[in-house]
Symmetry: C2
Subunit: 250 residues, 2 copies
DNA sequence: TAGTGGTCTAGACCACACG
DNA sequence: GTGTGGTCTAGACCACTAC
């Protein structure tokens, strides 16, 4: 039976149960990596049907607290957090990962010449609507976990001359080692829930929060070097910045 | 019956159905604000049980595409996006909202003197572990929608002297108009899924992505003026920044 | 083979909105 | 009252894991 606090009156059962399990997890009653009792057992403990238990578990999954593994059980998640600097937003991803004790590699999903989408035409200051750009999509791994999907568009000259290196390594590092010294950027950070497609790429449940780091980076005398976005698992990543303000805030 | 594409073989029914509905929504077949057919009707259309339809609908809710309203139906969401500048991260929230055509107000949930949590002691450079701080929690509205929960800690002197104004208005504006000119900040942006408690405050489903803007702001000669965090609905908000890099990126 | 989570069904009852 | 979504049940079958 559910231990019914007087205050838990109007809450649905699945919420009462998931909040109770959540409290137990946060109290360390179930340690990270540990297995929860099976759905059947939890059903008996709380005196509800398996469907209701599954609904409660779904709440925990959505909050990023546990991960189910078919045939094995439901496990409490570890906590990671890799921080990327926005004060220097062009800090190479691989360098930031290494500095924080992770091995890293990328898996290229796509690298091809294509007609530039219209917002890319504008951002990269391309001469015509029909201009071609290199379109790259790649998965970024920290240790063995996929933590981000990066989508980048390169001007044709850059993409063509660095094709091999860009497919195998990290974008910023490759550009820098080839004399393309990035010196400015416009960025935007937002959050989105994972679509089904993204959830497959990043091995997370549908709807899990992702951080979207939109970027447009320049080199030399304000020449666009690349634009795109990095969609990263928000349970693994964060962005930091220090700011000094000149004069008064308006 | 589900129209079974040959490629949709191994997908669960609820995914096939939610992806199909998603495509229809994105194609404009169901416009923003429009109502979807009832769960019962959708069940008949796709030839599945109501439970499976509800699972498919849950997928759409988690992706922020629709909102259910008890007794009325399931409605396609509108799209908003309010951007806040990180280049000037201390831009008053209310000013940013007004500039983008929204009316705004705050609802104070809590404003009280309390023993400072230990990370607040450190951030505000308080003299002792037992120091007191003002602890404020408030909801920020854009038009009539709650879009953010702000949690702020103030040093005792600031909180005490500005108690009335801080409870009624926006933090940064109040500080500025009282001669506390903010001139530096350390910030961190991350993303989290809404807990049950947060989902209640912000009127969103459990698990929806929130942007967490952690801040520590200074005034005068590096005196901490406040620290805390703003948890905002990621479907309504984003943060932008322009950056110039001196010298080479390391 | 036994135990686990994943999917799906059929049906019940409740709470809320609207006419 | 009728129709809507919200909750919950009991039970079936499948896929995967481990022994």
């Amino acid at each position: 039976m559910v231990s019914s606090k007087p205050s838990a009156d109007k809450q649905p059962l699945h919420i009462v149960i998931s909040e109770q399990l959540k409290a137990q997890i946060e109290a360390g009653q179930y340690a990270p990596g540990e297995r929860l009792p099976s759905e059947f057992d939890l059903g008996e403990v709380f005196g509800v049907s398996r469907t209701t238990i599954r609904r409660a578990i779904a709440n925990l999954i959505q909050q990023g607290l546990v991960t189910p593994q078919q045939g094995k059980g439901i496990f409490v998640n570890d906590r990671h957090k890799i921080s990327f600097s926005m004060a220097n937003p062009l800090m190479p991803f691989d360098l930031a990962l290494k500095q924080q004790g992770y091995t890293s590699h990328v898996h290229s999903l796509r690298f091809q010449l294509t007609k530039a989408p219209c917002e890319v035409v504008q951002k990269l200051q391309l001469p015509s609507q029909d201009s071609q750009v290199y379109w790259q999509e790649k998965i970024i791994y920290a240790d063995a976990s996929p933590i981000a999907l990066d989508i980048t568009y390169f001007p044709e000259v850059i993409g063509c001359s660095l094709a091999d290196q860009l497919q195998q390594g990290f974008t910023y590092s490759t550009l820098e080692t080839n004399g393309i010294n990035l010196n400015a950027a416009e960025v935007r950070l937002e959050g989105i829930p994972a679509t089904y497609e993204l959830s497959e790429y990043l091995a997370i449940p549908l709807g899990m929060p992702l951080l979207v780091f939109n970027y447009l980076v320049y080199w030399g005398k304000r020449s666009p070097a690349a634009c795109g976005k990095t969609l990263s698992r928000s349970d693994w990543t964060c962005y930091t910045s220090q700011i000094e303000i000149e004069g008064r805030i308006r």
